[in-house]
């Protein structure tokens, strides 16, 4: 094994240089590549197949809550983008502008959507008339463009794929309930499918979405102790409705403004999977999102019957996403390659195994090896995939909890942030000045005010004034 491992070009160790390790995994697991367009990426088959599984699972969960998919144009006329004051201030500096259509200059330039609130609002203003038209529970899968200065594959690119849900409701309460409902869909999806534990909470006013009344977030912790905002859900109140004139006739015939929400999750979750679960051998995929769950590697495959047996095992495992690696590479190379790609379970089958009526199973996450009787293979693989899924979530949770600290005063806060990568829980007075000061001192930002509040002390960690909220702080991607 040891010598054959070298066959697969080594990746940087994550403890030596986490950023380089990340880039190496993205490249060697063939998830994505840079494109000729600066800051944009080519998502390759291995990366896109993960996104397809994310889409499938999320889409199903959305539809179970009554959401319907639609498609809005990718362009926003400048005048439309400017209708909501906070929103345009937040996005105008980072959009791409189209000025010419064919050979002619446009009368009004258009941006490529950085997000589609304005388009949905424009549509809702025309489409919503009566309380009978509500709620509108629309979502779209598309790509958006934000002209970022520094980019990293999946985490921050000038174009990325996402879904954006946009709903309109008769009442403020209904909008608030939908905002939280979708946040919970994201949180459950992350934990159940991606095996990534999340903190659910509310963003401070400083960190909320441009134009939102309140932004809710799920925050996860990467292996290097940095936080990643993993999904957000916004309650807009009736702010956009007033800016765009979205009114409906209520049952009593009075004219009312709708209340709106939006919520999104993006391809950056592929980056989260890499950074939460990966190791020095490459990607480690949670079984529920893995495009290939089981790889079968024949040993001495040129010996009679071995390849046939490998395909026989594949047919026995047809309830899973399974592949036989019958390429002309050596078994050791195949092992390393399937580890690099993060395939959860490897099945090895050779002449000696066949004689004994057994096969060898190897877990990608722990490298644990076990021998199983072939007639029990399908059952054991099923159990193992379930176990791996569960263990990966638990391991990530243990890691996160072990890297979550508490600070009661500014000195210990600064010391913790500087010395111990992770979340810091600390009390906050509610003033942006303290957020600004903490960011200046440590580069950590408020990640969220968690729904599960704890009373660490009664004073703000920064200014010492009476605290109103316990906040998770951290350096973030």
């Amino acid at each position: 094994m040891a010598s054959e491992k070298k066959l697969v070009e080594a990746i940087t160790s994550m403890d030596v240089d986490f950023a380089q390790w990340y880039t190496d995994v993205v490249k060697k697991a063939e998830l994505c590549d840079y494109a000729s367009v600066r800051g944009c990426m080519v998502i390759k088959p291995a990366g896109y197949a993960i996104w397809e599984n994310i889409q499938k699972e999320l889409d199903r969960r959305f539809k179970e809550t009554g959401v319907e998919n639609v498609y809005m144009p990718m362009f926003i006329p400048e005048g439309l983008l400017q209708k909501e004051k906070d929103h345009v201030e937040g996005f105008a500096p980072e959009v791409a502008w189209v000025t010419h259509g064919g050979l002619e200059e446009l009368q009004e330039r258009m941006c490529v959507r950085p997000t589609s609130e304005t388009l949905f609002c424009d549509f809702y203003a025309k489409d919503i008339h009566s309380y009978r038209d509500l709620p509108k529970l629309y979502n779209q899968w598309c790509s958006v463009v934000r002209w970022e200065k520094t980019t990293r594959p999946f985490l921050r690119s000038r174009e990325f794929l996402w879904q954006e849900g946009h709903t309109a409701h008769a009442t403020a309460q209904e909008a608030q309930e939908r905002t939280i409902q979708m946040l919970n869909v994201y949180a459950d999806f992350c934990e159940e499918v991606l095996a990534i534990p999340v903190i659910r909470g509310q963003k401070t006013d400083k960190e909320k979405f441009a134009g939102a009344e309140a932004t809710y977030t799920i925050e996860s912790l990467m292996h290097d102790g940095k936080a990643l905002q993993s999904g957000t859900s916004h309650n807009f109140g009736d702010g956009f409705a007033k800016a765009f004139g979205i009114q409906y006739a209520a049952k009593d015939n009075s004219l009312q403004y709708v209340h709106q929400t939006s919520w999104g999750m993006t391809t950056r979750m592929i980056g989260a999977i890499i950074m939460v679960h990966g190791d020095d051998n490459g990607l480690v995929l949670p079984p529920r999102v893995a495009p290939t769950q089981v790889v079968i590697v024949p040993i001495q495959q040129k010996k009679e019957g071995v390849l046939d047996k490998a395909f026989e095992l594949r047919d026995m495992l047809s309830g899973f996403r399974v592949k036989v690696d019958d390429s002309d590479k050596s078994p050791g190379w195949k092992f390393s390659e399937s580890e690099m790609r993060g395939i959860p379970v490897r099945v090895e089958i050779g002449p000696r195994d066949m004689e004994n009526g057994q096969a060898v199973l190897v877990r990608r996450d722990t490298h644990e090896k076990m021998t199983v009787a072939i007639e029990e293979l399908a059952d054991r693989v099923g159990e193992l995939l379930e176990q791996i899924q569960k263990d990966m979530l638990e391991r990530a949770r243990t890691h996160r909890d072990a890297h979550t600290y508490v600070a009661e005063d500014l000195d210990s806060f600064v010391k913790t942030v500087n010395e111990k990568p992770g979340f810091v829980k600390a009390m906050w007075c509610g003033c942006q000045e303290c957020e600004d000061k903490i960011k200046e001192l440590t580069s950590a930002t408020s990640r969220c005010m968690p729904f599960e509040q704890e009373q660490i002390s009664d004073k703000c960690v920064c200014c010492g004034k009476p605290a109103v909220k316990m906040v998770y702080w951290g350096k973030a991607y």
Copy 2:
């Protein structure tokens, strides 16, 4: 019924004004709407759900042939677009140009992809090294932009959704086989799923794709006798490979150019479904692509037990895409609405039906009514959906064949085109001059040189010189 039909606002009769009928159906069946961006559309839930079913079926068929999905950037730098001479000439006049990113002017402007040959080629040039890297069988689902002057919902819009497959092969033969294979995937999909019969054939040089060596097409006939190009598959030979320098080391270590194909199908197929199957009551959806296959309408739904029974029937029909319409509208209104939306089968259930242990089934396509015993409901609905699917294809084929004419000389050709909407089969000498002349005289274009050739005469219908091919001609969308 007659009086209640008026409840649903009438649509223009297709015989009175086909174009207005089409627009009315698009609007009243709530398939799409115009957006604030001129020439772009908002695809509404009823329209997008059809597209999702098209995607699902096509994607499965692609993957069965080994195709993998990827995602390329939406922008093409101007220099990249210009690398293949014919291609840029074909597309440059109709692209949208991005000139600014954020507040800064770009050093090189970029267009929003009108199609992605250049991006795939740029990627393949970096990613393909050896014969071991071939074939590349990539596809992407995305939206593209072509700055058209006149637009119509689904049929021609400035932005539309599609898939574009791009493959690279070691040999010319393999590329040609893939080109035809994918054309056949499209043809089978249209006939089996959309119930739209197609003519398979090759485009003339005049009508082929910009940069292609050969373009193959499937052509279908709309109810008004106009043709619709429904899917195309292009063989590029090694033209793009030479322009982009896409070479691989062959087994004998010689450096060879790859041979490429591309193939695409778009949201215009929703327009085709409307125009092939629709009638004066609205949309008629083939069961296999219908988002809702069965609607259950309770009669006298306020009477005890009726609604419960309706939901009981829904559960019995859980193998189908089924909905109960329990809104507070009248049954007649519900009938008209479900007809407008094209739902293939309606189930009516009321107190008298319940007494008799039966329900009423109504076919959307023929309006035929039948009474079935409730215990046989699921079986009968299943059979009926199959029958409708089959009958719709046959009806469309009969209509097409009845509107396919033969012309042996120019006079009868012009007369036929002017008087009888449909396809005209006629011989052709192979010269573009004759194509141009026919277009000038009749506005009909060559649709394709069908694979199934017939020898109508031995002379070109236009110039009388020796004929080389039989061609389908027609006025097209």
